[in-house]
């Protein structure tokens, strides 16, 4: 005890008020121990929350730019379209002019198509035949799925009759080619006619039905076609399909030439379908359809859109294209088998567009590629490959919102969510003000004042002790220890709102504590009934109330 008091008495502090000649103001006075104010200041200054790097794509190459360069662009003749969508920006850090490609998809499409074009020359000789056959199948199926995407993605109509249309066109053209001896080049054209008729048939229910009602109905149509073909003698129920149609692949050519011809023909079909997709999805019809998805028809109609006409159009266009593909299929395989109508085909097709991502051309193509590789290249695995496709499908459903090509968007949403979480955890330290309040406050100095104020109050709370109260009771005015002086300086500086004042009811006899309203013309209010007999008592009463407010806030 005595040891402590000894050390305490040794501690002194420099009185800042001594220079002004306050009464009894010594230059150095003894003080009680208290916390160092620089500690909390250092603590507040240093961030404890880990800071992650902000900004994105530090690694991305950006070509340099000059203002005038932006105007000399290569354009697709004869349109005004530029080759790539380019935008000039200024680097935020270095302020250098840079050129960025707003849409890099054409680059990847170009590379992908170059890969498909060079594919026969880069595959190993041992697998060449298998891979070329698979490539041919890929081209045809990707074309079918692109047409399907027009209906299921762009028009947002859940139709499952796509393969039924292809099959109907293929069976029709096979039958005509076998019985009437039509040459191969007429088959896709006749197929277009068949497809057009099928398009009318499937478009009529689409005007009345929606959602799964339409999807299941088309599934039923598919099954209907299958049963009809399987039981009908004209369509070769005995041989499992119709074979012997005319083809563009000459039997007398060497086998490799045959494979390469068929491969390239199906890739050309794919490119044609991609053009069709682009000119339907990316143009007026696609815009109209995407504006009037299911359950938003009323809005579309109110905007002056004839969505029924647009839907019939997209059915007719895609079915005609599917009919063309059906005719091509016949000419490609010299006929057609029943399993084009089977439920498994629909299922695999659905797997293709689901895995890739419904509604996007690249999703349809890449999904088709994945499933065809699993289905046709790894054929030695047996039924396990279907299980693999199913597992891939399940995983896509469970974890991805819209297939492989939806990952980018999903990842960005997830990243932004995480970023927001981290940002809010950083701002939580920032004091009284919540981030939302801070953004709404016009005077940003206030944000910082509150933050500083919080820090200061936290520090001042550590100074409050019995000794300080005792010291103030003894001598409310005059020179004090550092702790008390800091507290009093803070209290005196507080705002006019609810600031405590002493009301003298009878000089030297009766004093009461009041609080200012803080508004001009607003009268002060009495805060307590207690009367003090001297000014010193009243001073101490105010001090205690302020201490209480500080500790409670």
């Amino acid at each position: 005890m005595s040891e402590q008091t000894k050390t305490k008495k040794k501690i002194t502090w420099k009185n800042p008020l001594a220079l002004w000649g306050a009464s009894g103001g010594n230059y150095e006075v003894p003080t009680i121990t208290h916390k160092d104010p620089s500690e909390i200041w250092e603590k507040t200054k240093s961030f404890i929350v880990p800071i992650t790097k902000i900004g994105r794509f530090h690694y991305e190459y950006k070509s340099s730019n000059h203002g005038s360069k932006l105007w000399n662009r290569t354009r697709w003749w004869p349109t005004r379209r530029t080759i790539l969508w380019t935008k000039g920006v200024y680097n935020r850090k270095s302020l250098k002019a840079e050129k960025i490609r707003k849409d890099k998809r054409p680059i990847f499409w170009f590379l992908g198509l170059v890969f498909l074009a060079l594919f026969p020359f880069i595959v190993p000789e041992d697998y060449k035949n298998t891979l070329l056959v698979a490539g041919g199948i890929f081209g045809i199926y990707a074309s079918i799925n692109l047409c399907w995407t027009l209906v299921i993605g762009t028009a947002n109509i859940f139709s499952l009759a796509t393969y039924a249309v292809v099959g109907a066109a293929a069976f029709g053209t096979s039958w005509l080619s076998i019985n009437l001896g039509l040459p191969w080049w007429t088959l896709p054209l006749i197929g277009m006619g068949v497809g057009f008729i099928c398009g009318i048939i499937i478009a009529i229910p689409a005007l009345r039905l929606d959602g799964f009602y339409y999807g299941l109905l088309t599934l039923g149509l598919n099954e209907l076609c299958r049963v009809y073909v399987v039981t009908s003698k004209t369509f070769g129920s005995a041989s499992g399909g119709l074979y012997g149609a005319s083809t563009f692949i000459n039997d007398e050519w060497p086998p490799m030439v045959q494979s390469i011809t068929s491969y390239y023909s199906s890739i050309i079909l794919l490119i044609l379908t991609l053009f069709l997709f682009r000119f339907v999805d990316g143009k007026r019809l696609g815009r109209i359809l995407r504006m009037s998805p299911e359950k938003k028809e009323a809005f579309a109609e109110a905007s002056g859109i004839n969505y029924k006409k647009a839907r019939v159009m997209v059915f007719l266009i895609s079915s005609t294209a599917l009919g063309f593909i059906g005719g091509f299929y016949t000419a490609y395989y010299r006929g057609v088998a029943f399993n084009i109508f089977s439920f498994d085909t629909v299922l695999l097709g659905l797997a293709m567009i689901t895995i890739g991502g419904i509604g996007r051309s690249e999703g349809a193509v890449i999904g088709t590629m994945l499933v065809v590789v699993l289905d046709k290249v790894l054929i030695s695995l047996g039924p396990i490959r279907y299980i693999m496709i199913g597992v891939l499908m399940i995983l896509t459903i469970l974890f991805l919102r819209n297939g492989i090509f939806g990952i980018r968007k999903q990842f960005r949403e997830w990243r932004d969510k995480k970023k927001g979480e981290r940002r809010s955890s950083r701002l939580e330290r920032g004091g009284e003000m919540l981030p939302e309040q801070a953004t709404e406050m016009d005077d940003k100095d206030e944000v910082y004042r509150k933050r500083y104020d919080k820090m200061q109050r936290e520090f001042l709370k550590t100074l409050v002790s019995e000794e300080v109260v005792e010291e103030h009771k003894k001598k409310p005015l005059g020179q004090h220890s550092e702790a008390l002086e800091r507290l009093l300086l803070y209290f005196r500086r507080s705002s006019q709102v609810d600031k405590y004042v002493i009301k003298c009811e009878k000089p030297f006899k009766k004093y009461k504590i009041m609080a200012l309203s803080g508004k001009r013309g607003g009268s002060p209010r009495l805060v307590e009934d207690k009367t003090y007999t001297s000014t010193e008592d009243a001073y101490h009463g105010v001090f205690l109330r302020r201490l209480q407010d500080l500790m409670e806030a």
Binding site: D210, G211, Y213, L216, E223
Partner: protein, 293 residues
């Protein structure tokens, strides 16, 4: 002209497909899941019954119950694999449907891998007797099919009307959001619904296997027929499904009697398209207000 024969045939067909249709309807209205994996559950239950008959006990009633039990297991499997992980994710309707298709693909291929493509035959559950009522000869399997499936539907409907769990399911049918707010667990109810509908599919599997063989893909046609009946009745309505099952059952019996078996699906789908063109939400078509797709 044996009209009674046609009527009995129609009712038999209606009973089997009606079971699946009611199952599809209940699942759709309670969970918002269009379950297209009933084909797989169908085959799964059939193989379960077959295994039970082969390795455990030959008793026909035991086989019947094992079929129902395997159907329950299959339903719970689908629920755990697809419904529970996906039900609260965006775009649930389409994702759930594709998920059930994927389960169906995987499951059927697994069955094919394990049991092989050879057809299996289930025992005659109801024996070989015949009965004559009002001059109509009824074979044992027809009587059994009609009695069992009507009993099953009555039990399920009574259970849904009178039990606590049934109340939860009906609450989910009316308004899934409000039901979850008042403390009805979506996942738990999903399990009940899938178990019950799985049981119905399992029963229909054993019943249909009285006339047909059992194969890994034999569930496909019943599933498509069940779904089309549910569609025609109005997705989500048990009454509508039953009416549609009766109409389509008679259509099937009449068509195969007067036109020939291969025209069954053609007349069936023409009928469905006709009904749907007149009433786009199916015959019942009102309950569907409860759950918008």
């Amino acid at each position: 002209m044996d009209i009674p024969f046609v009527i009995i045939n129609g009712i038999t067909i209606a009973c089997i497909y009606g079971l699946i249709a009611v199952a599809v309807s209940i699942t759709w209205s309670a969970l918002g899941l269009l379950n297209l994996s009933y084909g797989f559950i169908f085959s799964f239950a059939g193989y379960g019954a077959w295994l039970a008959e082969r390795y455990v006990w030959h008793d026909p009633v035991f086989v019947l119950f094992m079929g129902i039990f395997s159907g329950v297991v299959g339903g719970i499997l689908v629920c755990l694999l697809v419904f529970i992980p996906v039900h609260d994710k965006p775009n649930f309707n389409i994702r759930g449907m594709i998920g059930t298709l994927a389960v169906s693909l995987i499951g059927s291929q697994c069955l094919l891998q394990y049991f092989g493509p050879k057809n299996k035959l289930l025992p005659e559950v109801f024996g070989y007797w015949k009965i004559k009522i009002f001059g109509v000869v009824l074979t044992a399997d027809k009587v059994g099919v009609i009695v069992c499936s009507i009993l099953m539907i009555i039990i399920v409907v009574r259970w849904m009307k009178s039990s606590r769990r049934g109340l939860e399911i009906r609450a989910m049918m009316m308004n899934p959001h409000a039901a979850s707010i008042v403390g009805i667990g979506v996942r738990r109810t999903g399990l009940y619904v899938m178990a019950v509908t799985g049981a119905m599919t399992g029963l229909s599997s054993v019943l249909l296997s009285q006339t047909y063989y059992l194969a890994p893909f034999s569930g496909l046609t019943p599933m498509i027929k069940g779904v089309s009946i549910a569609l025609m009745g109005g997705l989500g309505s048990v009454k509508g499904a039953i009416i549609a099952a009766i109409i389509l059952g008679f259509n099937e019996a009449l068509t195969s009697r007067f036109l020939g078996g291969q025209y069954v699906l053609i007349t069936q789908f023409s009928l469905i398209i006709l009904v749907l063109l007149i009433r786009p939400r199916g015959i019942a078509g009102i309950l569907d207000k409860a759950r918008e797709a």
